[in-house]
Symmetry: D2
Subunit: 384 residues, 4 copies
């Protein structure tokens, strides 16, 4: 009999993160995928992940509405409680051999409790990382409920073991987001014209010459502070004068000053060699990065995918604090001088060696292999 692997997707980013693993499970001769789509993955205003899942050809075993209105701490807690109740029924009826919970969003604990309390072996993806705040609590609580750990780096593996988990059940499969980066490496050239394909505004940039890419998200809700932060980066790019593709930040909270800072700067300094984009398809974005001289900002792409692609990164501020990193990353403060110096340094030097700190590009397949072969258990004792 095939092992039934029940994966619960509760949000759009989680889907992107495990897509190659889902594919590998479907393709594995000893595994059967039971896909549960729940929570915000079903909702239009969170990007309707369910539509992408269906379009990608995955069969959905069950859908569960469980998000309470409010987007406040109370509704987060209650959403989790509701998730426990509903997912318990789902697992009871699907009878999977393994349940997979992903990362550290608040509602992932619902999957963990519904599975572990019903004595279903629980696999946790992306444990052992460090971020602070509520994600931190949720991630490590997931680890303590899980029986099988599929982590993304050696640092994460070490931390999970330090948390008292049996090393025999902790597997560094790498991060499935690297799998996509791996796919472009066969022919990594810039096979499209960014300005033609994506429009955007600002100066025209010739991608045959050196260019930079900037992607910087706000890390504070104080308008003034986030504006001061982005101003340092804008000033640095202005001083350097190197053509730059700049990606608008995701604006979650209304009160941030990042977008405002960019707009004001553009009015004050027209004619700068900067072109602005809203977004880009994942593989196009990876190609743009691969052919750039450096990524500047604070995106996790700099830490993960750029490590694998060997793209220099000037990582600004604290947003990626605590994450494992390869030699491609230069950490700097919110300081024009530090940013300029770091970019100049990378321009003067060779590309960094590609690193597999977040895996070798086959994380999805490795996860499927572990799920097919690991001895199943649902009882454990702390390993101290």
């Amino acid at each position: 009999m095939k092992r039934k692997i029940c994966v619960v997707i509760t949000a759009r980013p989680s889907y992107s993160r495990v897509k190659t693993a889902l594919r590998a499970i479907v393709n594995h001769p000893d595994l059967e995928l039971q896909l549960v789509v729940a929570g915000s993955a079903l909702l239009g205003r969170y990007g309707n992940a369910v539509d992408y899942i269906t379009k990608d050809g995955f069969e959905i075993a069950e859908k569960v509405f469980m998000v309470l209105e409010g987007e406040n701490p109370t509704s987060m807690a209650k959403t989790t409680g509701l998730g426990v109740m509903e997912l318990s029924t789902v697992f009871y009826n699907l009878q999977p051999h393994v349940v997979v919970t992903i990362a550290d969003r608040f509602e992932t604990l619902a999957t963990s409790i519904a599975a572990s309390y019903q004595n279903i072996p629980l696999a946790h993806i992306q444990g052992g990382e460090v971020t602070g705040n509520i994600d931190e609590k949720v991630r490590h609580a997931n680890t303590k409920l899980a029986d099988i750990h599929l982590v993304a780096s050696e640092g994460a593996l070490e931390r999970v073991i330090k948390l008292g988990e049996d090393p025999a059940y902790v597997f560094n499969t790498g991060c499935p987001s690297i799998d996509l980066a791996n796919e472009i490496l066969d022919s990594p050239g810039l096979n499209f014209n960014p300005l033609e394909k994506y429009g955007g505004v600002g100066s025209t940039i010739d991608t045959n010459n050196d260019y930079l890419v900037v992607m910087q998200h706000p890390v504070t809700t104080e308008y003034e502070e986030s504006r001061l932060h982005i101003d340092q980066t804008l000033d640095a790019i202005r001083e350097l004068g190197i053509p730059t593709f700049w990606f608008w930040p995701n604006v979650d909270a209304g009160a941030d000053g990042t977008s405002g800072g960019i707009r004001t700067f553009r009015e004050k300094h027209p004619g700068l060699p900067i072109h602005f984009f809203k977004n880009m398809e994942p593989t196009d974005f990876l190609r743009l990065l691969y052919n750039s001289r450096a990524l500047i900002g604070n995106s996790s792409v700099g830490i993960r995918e750029c490590a694998y692609l060997g793209v220099p990164v000037v990582n600004i501020g604290t947003r990626q604090h605590g994450r494992d990193r390869a030699a491609n990353v230069t950490d700097v403060n919110y300081s024009k001088t530090e940013i300029v110096d770091a970019i100049k340094n990378w321009m003067a030097n060779q590309r960094p060696e590609p690193s597999t700190v977040y895996g070798g590009g086959n994380a999805g397949e490795q996860m499927a292999k572990v799920l097919a072969e690991v001895p199943l258990r649902f009882h454990k004792t702390i390993c101290y």
Copy 2:
């Protein structure tokens, strides 16, 4: 303003465990107790803890029915989910400064999630212990969600710190169960006649002479195996011939052979110097132990209270495996010979020194002191 400390009691044993802490919170000038009684603590067939709580004079802020029928893994999970939802509303309306969750029963995670997701500092009592099975998962998950740790021993303190918790927020207050043992030490004499007060069946025993106490619970659901286990103890007591007070085990599962083994043995060997009791008031039981030559069996009383009282313990089998222990405990296998030897050894030697491995008898007050004085926080990062 007083700090509002919201303690959630979900089961009768949890109430016993924290009663002195509740009293100390009520009495502390800087604290206000918000007592929530929930789950099986409200139900008749689990011992109606709510009645004892009321009789002891504690005011109840809110009652929450949340136990699903079934006593199976699915109902355990759903009970927890329902608890998260309901306790979220309760905390939202009570607005406590700290929420306290107790130990490791499955539904205690509901309290932890409802509090931590709402950014209410969470204190966890009795973390860092080791037991195996689902309790183990729940206990350590509680630790990873909690901001303040009130543990019962140095070993537990070390394990909680190993789990990545900030030592500044881990406090070895001792176990409140020791507080009661402390109360009898002023005049520890046997101030009652056990046979007159509690009846029971079997031989008459003169408590002026040496006597033993036996309390052994089944650790397996296999009838034959638990019967073989108890037979070894019965044979040991028979061989020694020392007068013995024997307490019937709690029978949770119907299929165990412990009670059956005792009954058969009594019929086969009438006239042995053994007297059987069903139960005894806590302080009377502690006095009986204090004046005995040894406790034999596998009760946690041997590990905790007897350590503090300096009572020799012959601890049989694996039930207390992983718990910190003092010099009063001799561990033996399910073996008549080992049991006999261990008892003889204690009879030939002095009482062990009293130990404060599980605290100095003021755990309740220490907990109240920590809750009143610890800086409150609800964000943390793993300390590796």
Copy 3:
């Protein structure tokens, strides 16, 4: 495409009531049965209906645990709320064309809300009856949420229409409990020896001669009152001296005096021609009734099945108040004289004509036919 008919069974008696309808749905060429087993139908201490359902060969689409512990009004309400949440997910995933809710237990409103709020046409079985108490509220609320009404008698049909329902959607199919009575009519002889097959206690009775059957349930929770009630019946049977099969009442509440009254009476009057049974298989019980001279007591069997079988019934007290009845029923008060007179009267007269007041024995098939043919709708307006 076949119409998918989702029937939700939440309790053992509901299953008995619709079993022939389930069979007819399975056998109907245009219908597909989606059977959901939920609530107490899954629980051992309520008779494990799920086992019977499985044994009878029905396939179960989904199982839902939803009963809260407590058996008090609060747990009843919360069970219903939980049922709404869980059944909503179930219906969302099963996508039935019609949902069927049964009768008037408190949790049946959960089925009705989950279906009607999701715009799934809702069929309600056994509306329009009259009983008082919370069942009364639930039953008529079910009617106001339902789009299709499958009632058991003309009186019920009239009441449902009076409640403002469109007569085009109200169908008197008869009660499926009559279907079983119909099955024995081909050869209604007593083809078993009651004493041999069911044991019981009391006098030996020759079923070739006249005999009575008594089945009387308590209708009050006051011990003294229910005892006075049963004493009247016992005295009546003693005075008549006719051999009698007496069925023990279902004892729900512990405090009733019915069983106590019977026990005391037996001790006081040994040697009476009464034989006592605990229970009997449904068809055996119907044969016993068919061959008796009368049923005495307050069971709904007297009102329903005995009407169809043409068995005289002396119906005592208020328990069946408000139910439609045929000519086979003589209503009397809790009075020895009235009971004796009514029995004597039936003994002196002919059997009553069989009546189809509760249907012609093909209710299950008629229900399936309606469900296959009725135009489906989920909006309606009160018909005043």
Copy 4:
């Protein structure tokens, strides 16, 4: 002891509807208000009713988040289920003597179930009305669960009684929305300048001369159809040439053509004597109506408040179908000719007599009086 009256507010319109009743309960010497604010009344994107409630000085006993994301049928059902669970706990802890549920929104059934299943007498406001769709089902189901009925008109009273309710428990208190209309009648003059106070766009209108008011909401989700409907009204107003205050419709669904129709018409016919407003404070709006020659459109204000104020109403289409109405209402189809004729007719005739079909302006006080004096019960039987 005062009767504790627990009113559950789940939405902003419900609050407006019962505000005078809440005030009357607070002021009544024999009543104590327990106000529960739940559901969308707590959420910003539904108008934050909780802020108005607090600003109006009402004390809130408990707040309950219960709205699931999605605004689809499944989330409506689950919101109701969650409401049952949470409100059961709230009522269990508050121990009210009466619970009040309001009108017919889907989640009001949660209040009804939580109260009636716990044997708390349930009062239902605004039963007996007729609308079609899911509101219709919910309203009458509320009636069947309720013990006390506080209805708004004689027609509603008759329908509730037809539904089998005991006339002794059905009270026509009138609609509390009339209470506000009553307040302006002491000095009903137009004591403000609409254009100065509310701005708006369009022609300047002199309120000393005759003017009309239009308020017409879409009743269909088909863009073309709702556009044809509004065009008839616009053409009628253009033909008449009487100065008109026009209120923009509430746009719930994005696809309606009402707003689009108005915009196109304005561009095509500039200079018409129409002034457009978005909204107005309730009492200002009532004064504007009182001093107008007629209200045209399909607002419930025409049916209720205008009846009491004696303002002529030309009611267009089916939106108010089934509502009781006074002599002030002329019903017309979506037809320019019919609208013009009806307005001309009112212009040529006297104001209609004020009517108390929806009450005499003291509904709040009457409700409080009933709640204080009605014998409380929680069991009932259908009155047929």
